[in-house]
Symmetry: C2
Subunit: 206 residues, 2 copies
């Protein structure tokens, strides 16, 4: 079946080309300024051709969205070797913010943009996100078990911490930080991370 295999391969390559081109355009011109027609023009195909490879625009966006989760999870795994769970949690927060600030378009797609969340809920395609969430959740669990956090509902604690970092990222990315000068943002974020870190109870340990 060499021929069918080749076709399959070509189909995958084409999908990859579309995704890659879309990502480039997203980064260059901003997500909302990229149309199907622009992607088609870039790869020198007609707009309609893309619909042989993706059901609709949402499916293209979703594919990119998945690549973003790969990136994020890879970053998280960087912390595998960190023994102290509280240190791990703090580093994860800083790493998360770094990812968000350096990949605003991806982050937007992954966690803010409309028309992506719905798809996540319908299908079981939250898997890639679940992996990252579980990584956070386990670290939070370790923190509680090690006495760094007061005994709490693990999910509530994990959601709180995720909310904290996501909130900052989302406010910045969607331009809701008019109360502080642009050039101060990074400092304030670092300060906020430290604020949470130093205000969390650690009296039990050492």
């Amino acid at each position: 079946m060499s021929i069918e295999e080749r076709k399959e391969r070509e189909k995958l390559e084409m999908r990859q080309l579309i995704i890659k081109t879309a990502m480039k355009l997203f980064a260059a011109e901003g997500i909302e300024n990229v149309s199907i027609r622009k992607i088609a023009e870039k790869i020198e195909y007609s707009p309609g051709a893309l619909y042989s490879y993706f059901k609709d625009k949402g499916e293209i966006i979703h594919a990119i969205h998945e690549e973003g989760f790969e990136k994020l999870y890879a970053l998280q795994r960087t912390l595998d070797g960190v023994e102290n769970p509280k240190e791990k949690l703090f580093k994860m927060g800083r790493l998360y913010m770094k990812f968000a600030m350096e990949n605003k378009d991806y982050y937007d797609l992954m966690f803010i943009a409309k028309g992506v969340g719905e798809r996540i809920c319908e299908k079981q395609e939250w898997d890639s996100g679940q992996r990252s969430y579980d990584y956070l959740r386990n670290t939070v669990k370790d923190c509680i078990e090690a006495g760094y956090l007061k005994e709490s509902d693990i999910d509530a604690a994990a959601f709180a911490i995720w909310g904290f970092v996501h909130g900052m990222a989302a406010l910045i990315i969607r331009g809701r930080c008019a109360m502080m000068p642009e050039e101060m943002i990074n400092n304030v974020v670092e300060g906020s991370l430290k604020f949470i870190y130093s205000n969390i109870n650690i009296e039990q340990r050492n």
Copy 2:
């Protein structure tokens, strides 16, 4: 100049009618499903007529956005009488989440939607938001001064706390909570609020 006054009044009434109609449609059909044409049809005018009262669609959205801030600030002022700043801060968090959950469309417009943030930064129209932020900031300041929070950069602390609640709200509103069942969300949010509350240092006082 009774005649000019009347014209001014009528212009204002028309603006109000447009805003009110747009709000109703937003609530009924969702923000992204409301077009200029739909609003125009509802008030029995032609689409083009709206452009005599608003520069563009963004200006309509921004007007609604301001009404949302009025609502939120009014809610915050409900806490004027709360003496203990930490209690005030906690109640403000719960109240903020309640507002977000019960006015998802407004909240989206105010703090998440694209095409609104830019307008905020350009003009000095962040005022209505600044008022709410200052209210939070002052409470945080009181908490620090009263020893409920470790001495920290006030803005970093305020941003952290705002980020925390906004993050939860934004994740829920934009459908990024697939890791928990729909009916659990309210419980988890309450749990997260309590988690932050009980894990913040208060050893200094009492």
